[in-house]
Symmetry: D3
Subunit: 164 residues, 6 copies
Amino acid sequence: MKADSLSPSDSFSHLDDAGRARMVRVTGKADQNRRAVAEGFLQLAPETVEKLRRQALPKGDVLTVAQVAGILGAKKTAELIPLCHLLPLHHVEVGLTPERDRIRIVAAAETVGKTGVEMEALTAVVVAALTLYDMCKAVDKGMSIEGVRLLKKEKESVGERTAS
Amino acid sequence: MKADSLSPSDSFSHLDDAGRARMVRVTGKADQNRRAVAEGFLQLAPETVEKLRRQALPKGDVLTVAQVAGILGAKKTAELIPLCHLLPLHHVEVGLTPERDRIRIVAAAETVGKTGVEMEALTAVVVAALTLYDMCKAVDKGMSIEGVRLLKKEKESVGERTAS
Amino acid sequence: MKADSLSPSDSFSHLDDAGRARMVRVTGKADQNRRAVAEGFLQLAPETVEKLRRQALPKGDVLTVAQVAGILGAKKTAELIPLCHLLPLHHVEVGLTPERDRIRIVAAAETVGKTGVEMEALTAVVVAALTLYDMCKAVDKGMSIEGVRLLKKEKESVGERTAS
Amino acid sequence: MKADSLSPSDSFSHLDDAGRARMVRVTGKADQNRRAVAEGFLQLAPETVEKLRRQALPKGDVLTVAQVAGILGAKKTAELIPLCHLLPLHHVEVGLTPERDRIRIVAAAETVGKTGVEMEALTAVVVAALTLYDMCKAVDKGMSIEGVRLLKKEKESVGERTAS
Amino acid sequence: MKADSLSPSDSFSHLDDAGRARMVRVTGKADQNRRAVAEGFLQLAPETVEKLRRQALPKGDVLTVAQVAGILGAKKTAELIPLCHLLPLHHVEVGLTPERDRIRIVAAAETVGKTGVEMEALTAVVVAALTLYDMCKAVDKGMSIEGVRLLKKEKESVGERTAS
Amino acid sequence: MKADSLSPSDSFSHLDDAGRARMVRVTGKADQNRRAVAEGFLQLAPETVEKLRRQALPKGDVLTVAQVAGILGAKKTAELIPLCHLLPLHHVEVGLTPERDRIRIVAAAETVGKTGVEMEALTAVVVAALTLYDMCKAVDKGMSIEGVRLLKKEKESVGERTAS
């Protein structure tokens, strides 16, 4: 896949000439394979991570609940973000890795469509982060969500074979 | 209102003794006035903030779209976060303030219920942030969501008059 | 039940002093029995009504589908209307009456809550009307939805026995 | 684009031979560019329009909230109308124009699909109208929704260049 | 149409090599016509069926409500089942047949897509069954849902003419 | 808690005198603690259960995904079942136990409200069953959902201390 253009455009595509919000017209755009990867972090106290490792991670439920929430969240993107197009997703994956004082969340989304899936990957990350937050909030009062950003965004023609 | 206890509990309330996920039983808890305030930031290039000020903020749509998305997002909290209880909200407010290289988002939520509304306030913040991200992504390729955290969480008996 | 005050207030309660949208705070308001009735019309050609009477009404499905859609729509009100509070409904009823060149739709909604249910009754009416439109659109190209308005709005204290 | 056939069919496509409701089979139909435009009106007192102009329109929020609600509503069409097919929309636009004693709402929707998008355009109109109603109901007790109808419905082959 | 392969695969496609849940990647798969038929039964007392025949079936509402719920349920499949792909359905049909001591429910679903629609057909069946249960539960305390299974699953190339 | 009355009523409460469907009025009913427990089974080949035990159960994800789906499903009950009241749930628990040739699913739901939560418990069971089915369908072509029924339904006055 080719990386999407990194040179930003000059204007806000969601605003018409009068500055009024709209859902961007993508009717004329070609259907392409689209892929995006996003990451984010739930910052927590090292003792909370420790406690998770002892009490919660052996059974695995905490991370799986967050992962399922992230996948379902990705499918709700167009419902949550008003000007976002509905894109039926062909693949979603959410991975969670506990580090010393945070849990790293990485989400990948794919579709064949007329517009990219970065909002879907980002939504999966934040919904997984909120779900973790919810499950740890009785134990840790000082958590925050940090560094939610796009890692990669790719597209390729549907027939194209050469992936980047 | 009194601030909620800040001393963390010792265990993950969403896990039963076998470490299995569940929605916590709140049946016995009293209905109380509940309030929570959360904040977060969409980090963007100073030029993007500048461009927003010139092209988008006069008309106001960009911030209003994000604000509406945040309010609707708060109402979807229990649908997005698997172990969260549905709390019919009695008030939601989302404020957005452009700063030099970021937009600050503050959300407040209120209800009368058996459990707190911090997840609703946090969800409003992240959905507003994602919506801003979506509207600015054609212009700025390096944004991130940062510092999403709870600012305040209060409860008081339904009849109680003394607010903190 | 007493009819709700008919003297309009002087300002838009959904706007704060700065003119910014918000979900109105109802935290301090008393829980009351709330009831609202709304009506509306799907205008269609007399021949379409005639055809409905012959082909569709005997079996009854067309009206029942619209009625079910209206009831489900009432339950989605707070999801559709951004600044509307979620009110768990205690009763919803949707009636459809074919007249010469239109179908009359009447919806009633009830709850015990801090704010009225007129938006729920109105939403039931328009969703039922859209559903009828959808089912008749292959047959009639000139339909319109007309006269959607509130017929009655009442509230009474929860213990109160005297209904109006 | 060509205007869709205006000659109505002879039977209700949503009913099978036994008069039972179903979602019409569109499997064999070609994917085409589809576009629809609908309009409707929220009727209100001239003083309410005046008050809106003075207090609410300068900031713009009232119209933007209704516009966002309309766009999100269009994306919920298949969830609201039981026999409607889900069509991922490629463009939605909602415009609101205050007139002397009413607000005119126009919505356009587009997709590439096997069936038309008039229900999406109509749904955007009524959800925007309900949202305006909700925001004005403290000020005006006599509003109604009127004249919700289809203005235009077009389709063209996906490759076709000649638009009407 | 050809029946889908009946020889089961050797591994759980929804688990990656580490046993972690994911939404299966279907990006590379061809778009095909997909069809599935499922059935299920609501078991009830013969007297309840009798009572339904006398009081409820003449008007038809009970069966129609369940049928509409099943159709809407099919459209919600990807929202209910976490690892399921969203498939815009091209046809859904739900039939209900009262027998001596049960009501038989059959649902068919169709799409053109990269993956099958059996989950949509099965979801339609169970949601219709739950809806019937809900409407009969005041009358019959011993109902159960039984025998929910896939009857048929087919696919064919989009151009292919020979149906099985 | 006292078991709810087991003597069935004589008529279908969801039908009015004309046999037309409606959402039953519960406005006058007292708020009570409500609890319901339901069970159901996904029937599969003994080899599939064996394979699950070896490949999927150690990590635990398959059962946790179904459990989360069931909990989220319970919260969607009023959206899925047209005439069901929305009940904000105070507790939901879903347990899954693999047996020789089936997986047993038990769900419990609780609320304080005007009507029972058996539909919520039953919905949790069937959504969990569908989710398991989805994850096992590549491996086993002969599964069915069986024996979905209510095990227990209780209510007690909100202040009442004696549980049954």
